[in-house]
Amino acid sequence: MTEAIAIAILMTVIGAATPILLAALGELVVEKAGVLNLGVEGMMLVGAVSGFAAMALTASPLAAVLAAMAAGTLAALLFGVLTLTLTANQVATGLALTIFGIGLSALVGEGFVGRTVDVRPPPFPAPLAEGAWSRLLFGHDALVYVSLVMTAAVWLFLTRTRAGLILRAVGESDLSAHSIGYPVIAVRYGAVAFGGAMAGLAGSYYSTVLTPMWAEELTAGRGWIALALVVFAAWRPWRLLLGAYLFGAVMTLELHAKAAGVSLLAPEFLAAMPYLATVLVLALISLRRGPGAQAPACLGRPFKPAH
């Protein structure tokens, strides 16, 4: 395998990994706060169509990013009102949010089918990305670097800040957090909104970078992979980064192998790999004792403060 091909493969792995990393980072924070939002796919689609629409109408990458994040946040807040304020079942509401997102994005996107937008250039000056290896470092879309920075930021926030500690407390024991005066519902709203913004951003990566177009169900189920990834990473940001690149590699390596004329494994098996890996990790987690690797204790449990 030549160097050029190795780099080309890494480029596509990064492309496949970035959006699931973005969406999973958001969901990680949501779950750390004790909320399970299964609507990632729906929020991604809403973000994808909004990002594309903004890009098509204004030709401004910044507008596209902001529109995608705003749309994802709005969808997430809808979920928040239903599950946090009205204490609806989180699993059912999350699934409904995905179905809603599929339909709404199709409706909004109807006028944009068949159009395409220009892909924004990498954020660094062009000469910097000229050589093969420097292309690997500097030749990506801005969101690739954003996803890496966000991984560090989420890790810092959760483990090194007071606010992160409160958020984790809310996720581990909502009643205790409430009884010592922390606003459980407000913290969860914040986390859910963040998750929506990140999912929207991830969606816009598909519609404005990877495949610059709008088509119904453009994300084709990547939101579910992001959800699996959070569990796979055992709710840890750095492991999430690793897992995203691993999943990205699984999703693209087979294509490269076949393009080169080698067949590695049955493609159906590879398509199932992210989920198989997640089940395996879940099994390993439940075998292992001790804190840290478990799901947040209050995950998916509605919180009703005692009066």
Binding site: A4, I5, A8, I9, M11, T12, G15, A16, I99, I102, G103, A106, L107, G109, E110, V113, G114, R115, T116, V119, Y206, L210, T211, P212, M213, A215, E216, E217, L218, T219, A220, G221, R222, M251, T252, L255, H256, K258, A259, A260, G261, P267, E268, A271
Partner: protein, 353 residues
């Protein structure tokens, strides 16, 4: 817009409304789609055919459709629902709907069914398909002329005869122009996944492919070719808007004439079960206008192949044809007939799958 989910409630409401259509009522026709009608490819093309039916018959026909129906048990439920709802003719438009359609057809003898791209029929179930391979042959001819690396990329969905014969037609026609031409195939195991289709296109390009064709339903591969300054062909519909420079031409599926014909037969009471395989001759397969970057001599060569096909569709598979192992499958002077094409499960020499 009706999705599978909203459809179920709508159908339940409609079923509660009362008896089935009377003779004076418009003919109720329904379509079942594998993807979203906004895919700008396969499903979009079928839906354009449905709109042609509406245009042709006006209030004499009432059409409905259900999109995003997964192949398998989901499909059976949707098809049965549509039959119960009083639809008299139901078009199911994906290969994987064949067995579900047959099952429902056997149980609801008063409804007629039309299944696309399969091979099973029943007294009230027809099979219909288009000779897409004719379009592949034209694309292959262009690829043979225009590829500089002599390697074409083929993004394929599932190894069914439909897809296999397309790959073979592409390679056979390309190697008539350039004997060293090779077709590299990637199976993506999906009809619709834009990100995966784009990644497959990039993987092919990284391996020296400079011209791409696809048997999947989104324009993502064309965009990848456009971004790298290479060439590609549209699938099912003209996809020029996605890749103005890369898009050389497209194979357009024109289902309208067939749908109008069958609904007319329903109205006349002459509908009978049959197996139909229309192609360029009937206007079911079209080649969209060539990109201006295609030189005049290549356009002439493509048009010549088209004329050959119009004269005899099986000319695409005229011997001698070798398979991948180098053995002669079709001797010189003979041609593959339709039966052999519809069960094709082998690749011609030059296909790297």
């Amino acid at each position: 817009m009706i999705t599978r989910r909203t459809f179920v409630t709508a159908a339940a409401a409609a079923a509660a409304l009362g008896p089935h259509a009377r003779a004076a009522d418009p003919v109720k026709a329904a379509w079942v789609y594998i993807g979203p009608i906004g895919d700008h490819g396969w499903t979009y093309a079928h839906d354009q055919g449905r709109l042609d039916v509406e245009k042709a018959f006006g209030d004499k026909v009432k059409t409905t459709y259900v999109e995003n129906v997964a192949e398998g048990p989901d499909a059976e439920r949707v098809i049965r629902r549509l039959a119960q709802e009083g639809n008299q003719i139901i078009f199911t438009t994906s290969f994987g709907y064949m067995n579900p359609t047959l099952k429902v057809a056997q149980r609801t003898p008063d409804t007629v069914f039309e299944h696309a791209t399969g091979y099973k029929t029943h007294s009230n179930m027809s099979a219909y398909n288009s000779r897409f391979y004719e379009g592949r042959a034209v694309c292959g001819t262009i690829a043979g002329h225009m590829s500089e690396t002599g390697v074409g990329g083929y993004i394929a969905s599932f190894p069914i005869p439909e897809v296999v014969m397309g790959i073979n037609a592409f390679q056979l026609s390309a190697q008539k122009v350039n004997p060293d031409f090779r077709t590299r195939v990637i199976w993506v195991n999906t009809w619709y996944d834009p990100a995966k289709e784009a990644d497959a296109a990039k993987a092919l390009i990284d391996q020296g492919v400079d011209i791409i064709t696809q048997h999947t339903d989104s324009p993502a591969a064309l965009q990848a070719a456009e971004q790298r300054g290479l060439m590609a062909f549209g699938q099912a519909w003209d996809m020029t808007s996605f890749a103005p420079k890369a898009h050389l031409t497209a194979i357009k599926d024109n289902w309208g004439p067939y749908y109008v014909d069958r609904v007319q037969a329903m109205i006349d009471g002459t509908w009978a079960s049959q197996s139909t395989w229309w192609g360029m001759t009937e206007g079911a397969v079209e080649i969209t206008p060539y990109n201006e970057r295609v030189p005049a001599n290549v356009v002439a060569a493509a048009e010549a192949v088209k004329a050959e096909i119009l004269a005899d569709t099986n000319s695409v598979f005229a011997g001698p044809i070798l398979d991948q192992s180098g053995a002669e499958r079709v001797p010189s002077g003979t041609k593959l007939d339709d039966g052999a094409l519809l069960t094709m499960d082998w690749y011609v020499a030059g296909v790297q799958s």
